[in-house]
């Protein structure tokens, strides 16, 4: 009997091929949409992680309390030892030192007098060491608009906006006027070798990027660093792992009463990142949920119509002596089979497109020119384990549910009435 029905299913394109195509299409869209939303939300958070918070961040306890002021006088001392210890505790993670500082950037004219001045927000990162990951992490090469990357100490990049405001050119000198780690005045001369634009106002307004060793020299921070950012090997923030690592590290430092002792915080604990993460999760869930509901209605309807158009056949089968329960059961089995095939095919194609979008993404740079949000210019999808099963909700569950509902008609209608359907 099963073989007989399977043969019929395969021959009747309206029962097999077309519903499978509709299901596959719905599942495909669900998977692609889910991965895309996950990617956008994830990328937005990752951008903040790369520039600002890391997946975890180590600071001194005192620095943490006043971190909004970038208090370099409260920076961590013995940075090299701390990094060695962090690498021993978490060998898979990448650790990067950062110093954020504020100051005045003075541009002298040919006589050495001030030509222009502006308040600068600086970031000291590892630009020059041989194995640095920071250039890639911050996407600096792609962000450079004019000039080149710093290749030796004393060279800096400044934002395009800032360069225009200060009317400086590549090769011009600039003097940073700031306060050093001990609270004294700090002056340091740089050469501007390039300008950059990350595409977000938050980063492009009055920003300068210098090699961290230059910043140490300028601010008297020998073997000191403001922050040590930790990044997971997956490249994505993993909440549970971050909490586990943070708890372990902080527990090991608990006995140290020094207010300059290192303390680790997760990305979620940074600024309002927890709220943003929760919002991203909620938004992502809501959008995907809406889409799944819409796809479910489509596939449910397909299952319903598929069942209704076969009432005549069911009437015949009942007349021949097939039990109602058996007719219903075979109808659901067919639906499960078609739903399963459609879901598998849709998921495979959805994952393939999502993989391509994960690797290449969609460039929206031209739309983001005026954005002040720290968002990526290339929206990339992200494949998570959920992407492998989420399409089965509308693909299998909804279409089978639709079929089950249409099948209830077999029970509700009297046999004679179903039998009568044969005449139509």
């Amino acid at each position: 009997m099963i073989k007989f029905l399977f043969k019929g299913l395969m021959r009747d394109r309206h029962r097999s091929f077309l519903p499978a195509i509709v299901t596959a299409l719905g599942v495909f869209l669900t998977v692609v949409f889910y991965c895309y939303i996950t990617g956008i939300m994830g990328d937005t958070i990752e951008m903040s992680a790369r520039f600002e918070s890391g997946h975890v961040k180590v600071m001194s306890r005192a620095y943490l309390e006043n971190k909004n002021q970038n208090p370099i006088d409260l920076a961590l001392l013995g940075a090299e030892d701390i990094i060695t210890e962090l690498e021993e505790m978490n060998p898979d993670m990448a650790w990067a030192e950062r110093i954020r500082f504020g100051g005045l950037l003075d541009i002298p004219d040919e006589n050495g007098d001030t030509k222009s001045q502006g308040t600068a927000m600086g970031m000291g990162v590892d630009l020059l060491s041989e194995n640095t990951m920071e250039v890639e992490r911050l996407n600096i090469l792609q962000a450079i608009k004019t000039g080149t990357m710093p290749s030796k100490p004393g060279e800096i990049l400044i934002s395009n906006q800032f360069a225009e405001k200060l009317e400086v050119n590549i090769g011009d000198d600039a003097t940073l006027i700031s306060s050093n780690m001990d609270g004294g005045m700090a002056f340091y001369n740089f050469t501007i070798v390039g300008t950059f634009a990350f595409g977000t106002n938050a980063l492009d307004k009055g920003m300068i990027i210098a090699d961290i060793e230059d910043v140490r020299m300028a601010l008297g921070m020998y073997d000191a660093t403001a922050e040590i950012l930790g990044f997971f090997p997956s490249g994505y923030y993993e909440s549970e792992l971050a909490e586990e690592i943070t708890n372990t590290y902080n527990l090991s430092k608990e006995i140290d009463p020094d207010r300059f002792a290192p303390v680790m915080v997760t990305l979620k604990e940074e600024n309002s990142m927890g709220q943003i993460l929760d919002l991203a999760d909620a938004m992502g869930f809501f959008m995907v949920f809406l889409f799944i509901v819409a796809m479910s209605i489509v596939l449910w309807n397909a299952g319903l119509i598929g069942g209704l158009r076969r009432y005549g056949e069911f009437g015949l089968r009942l007349a021949i002596g097939e039990a109602k329960g058996h007719v219903y059961k075979t109808q659901i089995m067919e639906s499960v089979l078609v739903g399963l095939i459609g879901s598998v095919v849709g998921t495979i194609f959805g994952l393939l497109l999502s993989y391509w979008m994960q690797e290449h993404g969609i460039n929206v740079e031209s739309f983001m020119k005026t954005s002040s949000m720290m968002m990526p210019n290339v929206f990339k999808s992200r494949i998570t384990p959920t992407a492998f099963w989420i399409g089965f909700i509308p693909g299998l569950f909804s279409s089978v549910l639709g079929t089950m509902l249409s099948g209830i008609g077999i029970y509700k209608r009297s046999t004679a009435k179903l039998f009568k359907e044969l005449e139509h």
Binding site: G321, K324, S414, T415
Partner: protein, 231 residues
């Protein structure tokens, strides 16, 4: 065998609910049909012949009275028991043939046997016999859309007869056929009735069918107006 009763109906009434009350489709039917009869329920549309055929075929239940078919009281059968009775003992022939379009002739005729859990070899033999009775051995691999109307109805007869049922119920079987095909079909059914002693009960108002009947049960307004036997 000819003397045993296949259908035994007493005081049968059937009401259908309507908006305000109910409509009585059958109003006190008393009827006995013996094994091997070739009988017909004759009457105009709305006389109750299809309703009576449905009750005899265990597709519907009486509102009042009793209908015993092949020893089973239809009103007391569960859905499953009714399905089992149809599966083992009854064959149906419809006005619109109702062949499954994705299956060929062999498969359409084979379908009722699959429900009886017969082996493939038994099924094959039974199908070949049934198709031979209706003269379609050269069309075994054809699909319904490759057959004429007359050929489709012959396949439907083979499907109804393949399990050698005790009772065949035919609702307007020639309504969609021309005169030549109608006579061919009726001669085939008459031959099967005589050779296999199968009881045939028609619901019809087609003169072509009526002239072949050996018994005419004339219905009017849900009641038997005349019962003409031994024609």
């Amino acid at each position: 065998m000819k003397n045993t009763l296949t259908v035994q109906i007493e005081g049968l009434k059937k009401h259908f609910p309507t908006g305000k009350g109910h409509f009585t489709a059958l109003n006190g039917i008393n009827l006995e049909i013996g094994t091997g009869e070739f009988a017909g329920l004759v009457g105009p549309s709305g006389s109750g012949k299809t309703t009576l055929l449905n009750i005899i075929g265990s597709l519907d239940n009486p509102s009042e009275g009793t209908a015993k078919v092949l020893g089973h009281n239809i009103g007391e059968l569960s859905i499953t028991e009714a399905a089992l009775l149809r599966r083992k003992e009854m064959g149906f022939i419809f006005q619109t043939y109702n062949l499954l379009p994705v299956y060929n002739v062999f498969e359409n005729v084979e379908f009722p046997l699959l429900l009886l859990n017969m082996t493939a070899a038994e099924r094959k033999k039974a199908v070949h016999d049934a198709v031979e009775w209706v003269g379609l051995t050269d069309k075994l691999k054809s699909r319904p859309n490759q057959l004429s109307g007359g050929e489709c109805q012959r396949v439907a007869i083979a499907r109804a007869m393949v399990k050698k049922p005790s009772l065949v119920l035919a609702d307007e079987p020639t309504a969609n056929l021309d005169a030549e095909n109608s006579h061919h079909i009726l001669k085939t059914m008459l031959k099967l009735n005589e050779e296999l002693n199968t009881t045939f009960l028609f619901a019809t108002h087609d003169e072509k069918v009526i002239q072949y009947l050996k018994r005419k049960i004339i219905l009017k307004d849900g009641m038997i107006e005349q019962d003409l036997k031994n024609l």
